[in-house]
């Protein structure tokens, strides 16, 4: 008989399960998603957690940490579980990894936590991680990938939790920042809804501004950059609605990093306004003014409308502001 085979499904009292034992946990923290909370509150735990029996009639969790946490919070007294006898810890951990792998894609941080645990708690070598476990997780078997993920997992847990919704490449970049700088980023993430591309822009601007100030021999802490760019005062201005405030913060940082380009773009926008482009016609300058051609788009619903638009185009072509726009390209 297989000693690892589970005993039949058992209804186990939630109080007897020690979910503070994180030996097999993939993540250091385990905030359950709201969908899971709603589901368990409505119909209970449908998919049985895997638990391991321990001395003293207690159990520890192999997989299902979040399900059990929600059950506990929802006041559910017992849950049907697959109960395993005490076994080799590294084998049990891998079972947990495999079970999760079958149902979802791990985040970079989770991959990092798995690899770190295999390395530091379960004695696997870096070579094994490279050859066996990176491919298992669907990653390239490259040392730089391994090092990046291990660095991510080694970050302070406060930062890992705080920047959970940030792109992992940006979190890694922030890992080398000072604590007050990390707090600044964390507070931004907490107070504004920042999409991934905006996250990238904000972090890039910070990184660029810091590099430029270092090159100029100036103070390069992000707090100084935050203050000097004017972003801090926009941030404190509660009269501005939140989404607009974020937009203005980014604009302030952009102007600090690209003063000349910002001035050129402002000039271009001014000239474009002066052209009084009619509705139905759109005029686009090349990105960052790199390029020599201006694009226009228009639509019309009748030959008469086209004639009117053509007249407008002729008028625009004769304006001095259009020539000035070309001088900016």
């Amino acid at each position: 008989m297989n000693p690892n085979a589970p005993r039949p499904l058992h209804s186990i009292a939630v109080a007897e399960i020690d979910d503070s034992d994180r030996t097999y946990a993939i993540r250091a923290d385990c905030e359950p998603p709201p969908e899971l909370v709603r589901s368990i509150q409505a119909v209970g735990v449908l998919s049985p957690p895997r638990i391991e029996s321990m001395a003293g009639g207690r159990y520890r969790v192999i997989s299902g940490f979040r399900r059990l946490k929600v059950a506990r919070l929802a006041g559910i007294e017992s849950v049907d579980c697959l109960v395993f006898p005490p076994g080799k810890e590294s084998t049990r951990f891998l079972e947990a990894v495999h079970e999760n792998l079958g149902t979802r894609r791990f985040t970079d941080l989770e991959c990092g936590e798995i690899l770190l645990k295999l390395l530091e708690s379960f004695g696997r070598s870096k070579n094994e991680l490279l050859q066996t476990f990176l491919p298992l997780l669907g990653l390239k078997a490259e040392p730089r990938v391994l090092e990046r993920l291990l660095r991510l997992a080694r970050m302070p847990s406060v930062l890992k939790t705080a920047l959970e919704n940030w792109r992992s490449d940006l979190v890694l970049r922030a890992a080398g920042w000072s604590e007050p700088e990390q707090r600044l980023l964390e507070s931004l993430g907490r107070r504004y809804r920042i999409g991934h591309s905006r996250q990238k822009e904000v972090v890039s601007l910070f990184v660029e501004l810091r590099a430029a100030r270092r090159a100029a021999g100036e103070r390069a802490e992000l707090q100084t950059i935050w203050e000097d760019s004017g972003a801090a005062s926009v941030d404190l201005d509660s009269r501005i609605p939140q989404p607009e405030r974020l937009e203005r913060i980014v604009r302030a940082l952009r102007m600090a990093r690209y003063p000349l380009l910002s001035a050129q773009l402002a000039k271009a926008a001014d000239r474009k306004r002066s052209l009084k482009i009619p509705g139905g016609l759109r005029l686009d300058l090349p990105r960052h003014l790199e390029g020599s051609r201006i694009q226009f788009q228009g639509s019309f619903g009748s030959p008469d409308e086209l004639r009117r638009l053509a007249g407008e185009l002729t008028r625009i072509s004769e304006q001095a502001e259009l020539r000035e726009l070309f001088e900016l390209l």
Binding site: P143, A211, A215, P259, L289, E290, L328
Partner: protein, 372 residues
């Protein structure tokens, strides 16, 4: 400058008896030599272990180059559907990688192996060139050796300079260019070059050399090497590339241009190129990591349509207009002046002329040879 001396040599069996290998070994007596079957495995392993960019170059690999040596300069290729104005240049690579540490060097993100490699099968290189030049007698080829390595940094060890100078001396439809940041010209001085070799220097103001071009010859050393080449009858060229923005750039570049023309006769300079700093985004990240205080980070750079990070156009134009103006003021009328890898619309504005083809630029640069 401190010349390159490796700490170890990896020697491919198949090139052990070739003249270049024998010469390198003679020049480096007592150095540990490890025989290897193939450099590919070694370079692969070295790439995987990713040693520090400086540390790994302590090993020199003598290997056989298996593909073609001769090819058009990659700068002329279309990128992202965009094409820059180029100068119809060709390259031969007899070495890869560089022991010097210029902060802006594209090799940092381009080469994925960390050793210095010299391709010792020089006979294959010369016969390939011979074939190309004979097959197209009506074409004129300007050929450089400084794409993946400094042209002369390894010359005291390899003697490649002599082989190439003597080979090009008798060619009617080609001219050779050595592009360097070193002062390693001694091996060239007594050679019969037939006016078919140009020795050129990548050059920047002293301030930039000191801050950004680590381990290279000083500007004084480079100019004095150029003077020695002129004395030996060579024509010499200069590449003010990359032009780097910094607060004192106008004074720096103006003095540099003056210094070049104060010391080198204008009619000894067949061409001068300028090129504003450009880099891929991954290279920008590497520079930030390796050289956090570099002046490269000062200017406003944005992604251009070819995907490269460049200074914004207004800044590029200002740099070009000023520097090109100073050069024109001092250069001989026969000196070819061009911008390297620049966007067509910028090229056209800088030189106040319609956008030329690569061939036109190439022909203008080499006109003195073609009309001879």
């Amino acid at each position: 400058m401190k010349h390159y001396r490796p700490q170890k040599i990896f020697l491919e069996h198949s090139v052990a008896e070739l003249a270049v290998s024998r010469r390198v070994l003679r020049r480096l007596p007592g150095l540990p030599v490890e025989m290897i079957e193939s450099s590919e495995e070694l370079l692969d392993a070295a790439t995987r272990s990713r040693p520090s960019a400086t540390g790994a170059k302590r090993a020199l690999v003598l290997a056989r180059h298996k593909g073609a040596f001769f090819k058009p300069c990659p700068a002329s290729q279309t990128r992202g559907g965009e094409r820059n104005v180029c100068c119809n240049y060709f390259v031969v690579n007899y070495a890869s990688n560089c022991h010097m540490q210029c902060s802006y060097c594209y090799l940092q993100s381009y080469l994925n192996f960390p050793h210095l490699v010299v391709y010792a099968n020089s006979d294959d290189l010369l016969s390939e060139l011979d074939e190309v030049f004979r097959a197209r007698p009506g074409s004129f080829f300007r050929v450089g050796t400084g794409e993946l390595a400094d042209s002369l940094a390894l010359d005291p060890l390899t003697g490649y300079g002599k082989l190439l100078v003597e080979f090009f001396a008798s060619r009617r439809n080609a001219v050779l260019e050595f592009k360097t940041k070193t002062d390693c010209v001694d091996g060239l001085l007594g050679l019969r070059h037939g006016g078919r070799t140009v020795v050129s220097w990548s050059i920047n103001p002293r301030f930039i050399q000191q801050r950004e071009e680590h381990g290279t010859a000083t500007i004084e050393e480079r100019l004095s090497a150029a003077e020695r080449c002129v004395d030996a009858g060579y024509r010499v060229a200069f590449h003010l590339d990359p032009l780097i923005y910094y607060p004192e750039w106008e004074r720096g570049y103006r003095s540099l241009v003056d210094e070049i023309f104060d010391r080198i006769p204008a009619d000894s300079i067949p061409w001068i190129s300028v090129g504003v700093l450009r880099m891929t985004s991954p290279l920008k990240d590497v520079i930030r990591d390796r050289f956090p205080a570099s002046l490269i980070h000062l200017g406003e750079t944005v992604a251009a349509p070819d995907g490269k990070q460049r200074y914004i156009k207004a800044l590029r134009l200002e740099l070009y207009h000023k520097v090109v103006g100073w050069i024109r003021h001092r250069a001989a009328p026969t000196t070819g002046l061009y911008a390297c890898m620049e966007r067509p619309e910028v090229w056209s504005r800088v030189f106040s002329r319609p956008i030329p083809t690569d061939e036109q630029v190439g022909n203008e640069v080499t006109s003195s040879w073609q009309s001879a």
